[in-house]
Structure formats: structure tokens, C-alpha cells
Amino acid sequence: MTQSDPRFHVPAPHVRPGDTPDFSHIQIPPAGEAKRPAVDVAGPETMDLALGLVRVLDHNHQAVGEWDPKLDADVLREGLKHMVLTRVYDDRMLKLQRQGKMSFYMKSTGEEAVAVAAAMALDKGDMVFPSYRQQGILFARGRDIVEMMCHCISNSRDNLKGRQLPVHYTWAEGNFFSISGNLTTQFPQAVGYAMACQFKGESQIAASWIGEGSSAEGDFHGALVLASTYKAPVILNVVNNQWAISTFQGIAGGQAPTFAMKGQGYGLATLRIDGNDFLAVYAATQWAAERARAGHGATVIESYTYRADAHSTSDDPSGYRPKGEGEQWPLGDPVERLKNHLIGLGEWDEERHEALEKELNELVIASYKEAESHGTLHDGPLSPVSSMFEDVYAEPDWRLRRQRQDLGV
């Protein structure tokens, strides 16, 4: 690329399509190295944790160091199950989208631990304000798969009456806030929610997730200012999956050493964690939740991970990053790593894993059959057209009544 003045700077990734994947510039500290401070530590004292990387699972798949949450094998197996289900569901939904069964889909492949482990470390009553790649939370919280699918195919049973793009779930009963397509808007909202929890004297907290790319939004700054000023009980997660559609993380990160470091400017507690390490995500969320619940304020967590698949079904990563980059990701695959950890503990084996995958695959296929029995976007039945005019306000005013009449519904 030519440029007129070498002082004008546009960062670029190390490699592009056609190049050999190369992550040699990424420093990976050994698992178990990071110290785990008391949850009441002052934010600025967590600066080293913003620059390091909290890792629990080592290269032999053993849990090491102070951050090991020491979970029962049952909890680990449950986590593995939710992650496998997330992956199986995503794979099936992608196929269905390619068959024209839905307009759009977004997978979370490679990022299952970020959502599932966090959801399991939170209380089910805690309010989550996710972005569009944390469907793992829904599985961890026991959301009915048929209901999720009915939303994605916008049929007559879609709990959002066909008003939202697929994957933009809402589940109030499960304390899962509405997902917006406008990025980072939910970050300061989560802080407001957390403030209200404190205002009402409840122990509930809030957690939110954005991508590293959208941390460039003004709402990121607003959220951190609010969280810091009002010492809100909230966990602010930045999922650094390296790619914002086609844009590499350096376009949002600039010269900041890490995304977690940005929290230091606000005096918040900051953790940078291995997002493909179920135990690290669990432990970090548990720490931040305990800190928030005890009134010590917010934590910014950067989950270092890799978006192993396309941004969405409308995206083709071969246009901007080398093929096979995901397989070279130095932090591995979150499902494989937890699986191997369990096997190492003697609490799991390949046969059981295969059986689990088969069982979940059958569940997803059967769920889709049931979902489809309530209609599809293509063939209906959908929510009645008249429902388009509902829920704009508590009661439709004369304009909406007239417009509904104009449409003849």
C-alpha cells in the first residue's frame, strides 16, 4: 500500500489472505502465573492483571494457580454440555440458514466459554446485557431451545413477534435483556440497571458484553464513567475476538497495550483473561461478581479469544484474513480444552463425548422440527400482520389505528 506521508498511520494486521497464519507476536504467559487479589482490592492495583493474562488450564490441560475455581466435576461436565450444545446449535442453525430457513444467523464458534462460563459463575437472577455472540448464556440458563429457534425463524411463536433479526434474543424471565444491533448501547444501560439494583438494596448485579471493535464507541466511555462514578455493581466484558467483521482489533485498540487497560483510566478493577479457558472465565466472573455484590464496584474483563468463524452469514472471512488462522490460535479451542481437562481428571472420555454430541445433535434436530411446526419466516404462519402496530406504545394512538386501517388489518 502506498501512503503520502509516513506520519499518517493506519494500523494493519500482521497477515492477510494468502499469507501464512502467524500469531508469533502474541505473548502468552504461562497458566497459573497471575495472582488473584482480594475482591476488595483498589482498581488501580489490578493494573498488572490488565496487562497479563489470567489462565488456569495449562498446556497439559491441568488446572493450576490461584485462579483455579476448583469446581466439582459435575459443574465442569455441565459447562462442557452447554458449550457443546452452543456449538451444535450454531452449526445446525448455519445449515438451516444456508437452506433458506432463516434470513440471517451469527455463530459464536470458538467463544463458547466466554458466554457459558460467565453465565454459570453468575447467579441466574443477575441481569445480563449481552451482545449478539453470547447465546451460550441462554443454554447455561436453561432457555428452551424450541423457543430460541421460533425466534430465529420469526414464526407465530416467536416471543418477539417477528420484530427482531434472528439471534437478537430477549428473555425477560431469564434475566436476559434485549439484544441490540446498535453496538455498545447496552453497556451503559447495564450500569444503570446495576445502579437500580443497589438503589433498591438488592444483591442482584448486572453484566454486559461487547466486542473489542465496538469498545471504540462513545457508549464504552459512558459506561465506564458511570460505573466508576457510581461504583455500580456491574461486570463490563470486552470480548476481544480479534475481528470486528473484517476489521482487525488494532483499529479499535490503537496504541493501548490491551483493552482491559482502558479500564485503568477510570480507576476500575481490570482483568485480562484467556477467553478460551472455561476455568479462567469462570474464576474471573466469580471474582468480579463477588466484588460487585460486596459493594466494591465494577470490573472490566477483557476476554482474549478468537472468532473462529465468520462474523455472520452475510460475511466471508477469506476476504480479509488467512485461511486456517483459527486452527493456529495459540489459546486453542475452548470445548477441546475443557474436554481434555475432564479426561485428565478421569471424569470424562471420548466415548462419552461422542455420545453427548450425538444426543445434543438429535435434540437440536428434534427441536427444529418442533419449531418449524409453528411456522417459518418463508412459509408462515407468522405473528398476525396487525401485531406490527402493537407495542409501539402501551395503547395505540389515532395515528396507529388509522394506519392499521389503511393497511386493512
Binding site: T170, F177, Q189, Y193, F199, L226, V392
Partner: protein, 337 residues
């Protein structure tokens, strides 16, 4: 009943609501300890405590977002945006989030949020403290838009806004805070003390959202307006000696088409007046709807009185402001048409 200016009436509404409902909180830039640059929230922190009335950082997007989060947790936030001109950093949170949450969640989350903001010119505020940006907000499905023209309406409508289950952008014409204004800047300031609408009950009361008020009944002409220009219209009608009906819309979304159509069908002539720039202003919506609903009764084209399509100037404020002359000229023209 007590004599109140608009600031006191709004303060009284907040006071009543904070006393009545522990989920009502008030916040904004300088709106806590100090009570707001226009003093609308004065005394609330002292009376209700820091957690009910507090200062917010200078970030309008964060102020709106905080309101959304709080409303999701069952609170009724009342956020102050210091000047309507400053509301734009918060526009994404209003347009993409606040307005749509009921809809996009199919009623699982509702947003009883009130955003109060002083608007309009006539106070030598220059282009960044004089805007009337109400039309932007009337174009957002899911938002209700209110602009009162006097203390009595301001209190009743603010209470209705806070009690509403849907979000409201509540514009306070700041030129009217301390007294009615007939459009003549050369005259001594008048106070609300002598105005019938300056009589305001101290107790809780509501006025219906979506109901206009006929300020003056008349037969020759209908003037539809809101906010500061209601008073200019009254002065102009008195000066012209014309028997005009003046309608104060009070609510812009949803506006009271019934009262407007009935009046225009009776008089056959209509002027719509707004302080905001002309193009795509709320007057354009009114004119179009009146034309649809009253076409066969109209004896002249609907006429618009508006600000110019320029930013609100500082030095030439009174050439920009749609004052008495613009009204009397328009009245003469439409009667001759």
C-alpha cells in the same frame, strides 16, 4: 392553589412524584446538589436524599442509557438534559433503544422514562442554547413528545409524563420559565403572577397526554401552535382584531387531530406556527394532516409561521424569532387569500 412560575410548577410536579413513588429519581448535569442551571430540581436532593436526586456526568448518551437501565429494573427515572441543544449525543440511545424497547421485546421490557429539556430561544442563548428540536423526536415511533406553554399545564403534563408507561421527551420552553412572552423583547418582563395559568395546585394532578387546549375560541381562522408561540399568537390575534381560534397543542406526539380538525373544519383557514426552522418542522406534519382531513373545508392554503432555515443566530435573534409582525402579516395574508 398557589402562584407559581413554570420552574416552580415543574419542581412541584417532581416533588409530588418523588413523594408519591419511591421509584422516581431525578438526575442530570448540575441537576443534583445545585438543582439545575434553571433551578427546576432545586431542593429535591435536600428533601429526598442523594440517591433520589443527583448529579450526572456530562454525557447525554450515558444519562439516557442510565435511565433505560433503571427503567428496566422498575424505576421511573426523570433525566434532565441541560439544554435541548445538548440532547444529540444521546440521540442513539433515544432513537435506537429507549423508543423501541417495548416493541422489540414485545412488551417484556417497558420504558417509563421522562427526559426533560429546556428548549427554544428568546433568551440570547445563541445557536447552541436556543434550539427547538422537537420535530426530530416526533419522527421516532415509540416516543411521546410534550411541550407545555404555561405553569399549570407544565405541572399536570410532567406528572402525566412521569406516570406514563412509555418514554416522554418533555420540552420546556425556557423563555416561558419566568413569565409569558408575547414576542416583543422591548417590553418589560411579565410574570406568571398575573396570568390565570400561573395558579397551580400544590397537590398532585394530571393532564391528559394527547389533548390540545383551545386557548381562544374563534370563527374566522385557526392558529395551531405550542410552547412560546402560543402567547405570541394570542397577542397577534388581539392586535389584529380578528376572531381567531387558537389551539395550544401541548402534546405533539400523539397530537390532538380531533380538536384541530374540528376547528379547521369550522373556520376554513389555518395557520400552523413553530419556532423551529421551517423545512420538515412539526408544522409541516400538521399542514399535511390538516390538508388530508379538512381539504374540502379549506378556503385558503394552510400557512406556516416558522423560524428560518438557519441556525438560531445570536445577534439577530429577534429577526429569527417568529414574533408579532410575522403573525399579524400571516393573519392578514390568509384572510385575504
Amino acid at each position: 392553589m398557589a402562584k407559581m412560575n413554570m420552574i416552580q410548577a415543574l419542581n412541584s410536579a417532581l416533588d409530588n412524584m418523588m413523594e408519591k413513588d419511591p421509584n422516581v429519581v431525578s438526575f442530570g448535569e448540575d441537576a443534583g446538589y445545585f438543582g439545575g442551571v434553571f433551578r427546576v430540581t432545586a431542593g429535591l436532593q435536600a428533601k429526598y436524599g442523594l440517591d433520589r436526586s443527583f448529579d450526572a456526568p456530562i454525557n447525554e448518551a450515558a444519562i439516557v442509557a442510565m435511565s433505560i437501565g433503571m427503567a428496566a429494573k422498575g424505576m421511573r427515572p426523570v433525566a434532565e438534559i441541560q439544554f435541548a441543544d445538548y440532547i444529540f449525543p444521546g440521540i442513539d440511545q433515544i432513537v435506537s433503544e429507549l423508543s423501541r424497547l417495548r416493541y422489540r421485546t414485545a412488551g417484556q421490557f417497558t420504558m417509563p422514562v421522562t427526559i426533560r429539556t429546556p428548549c427554544g430561544g428568546g433568551i440570547r442563548g445563541g445557536q447552541t442554547h436556543s434550539m427547538s428540536p422537537e420535530a426530530f423526536f416526533t419522527h421516532i415511533p415509540g416516543i411521546q413528545v410534550i411541550m407545555p406553554s404555561n405553569p399549570y399545564d407544565a405541572k399536570g403534563l410532567l406528572i402525566s409524563a412521569i406516570e406514563s408507561e412509555d418514554p416522554v421527551v418533555f420540552f420546556e420552553p425556557k423563555r416561558l420559565y419566568n413569565g409569558p412572552f408575547d414576542g416583543d423583547p422591548g417590553k418589560a418582563l411579565s410574570s406568571w403572577g398575573a396570568h390565570p395559568k400561573g395558579e397551580v395546585p400544590e397537590d398532585h394532578y394530571t393532564l391528559p397526554i394527547g389533548k390540545a387546549q383551545i386557548v381562544r375560541e374563534g370563527s374566522e381562522l385557526t392558529i395551531v401552535t405550542y410552547g412560546t408561540l402560543v402567547h405570541v399568537a394570542e397577542a397577534a390575534v388581539a392586535a389584529s382584531g380578528v376572531d381567531a381560534e387558537i389551539i395550544d397543542l401541548r402534546t405533539l406526539v400523539p397530537y390532538d387531530i380531533e380538536t384541530v380538525s374540528k376547528s379547521v373544519n369550522k373556520t376554513g383557514r389555518c395557520i400552523v406556527a413553530q419556532e423551529a426552522p421551517r423545512t420538515s418542522g412539526f408544522g409541516a406534519e400538521l399542514a399535511a394532516q390538516i390538508q388530508e382531513d379538512c381539504f374540502y373545508a379549506l378556503e385558503a392554503p394552510v400557512k406556516r409561521i416558522t423560524g428560518w432555515d438557519t441556525p438560531y443566530p445570536h445577534a439577530h435573534e429577534w429577526s429569527y424569532f417568529p414574533g408579532l409582525n410575522r403573525f399579524t402579516t400571516a393573519i392578514r395574508d390568509i384572510l385575504e387569500a
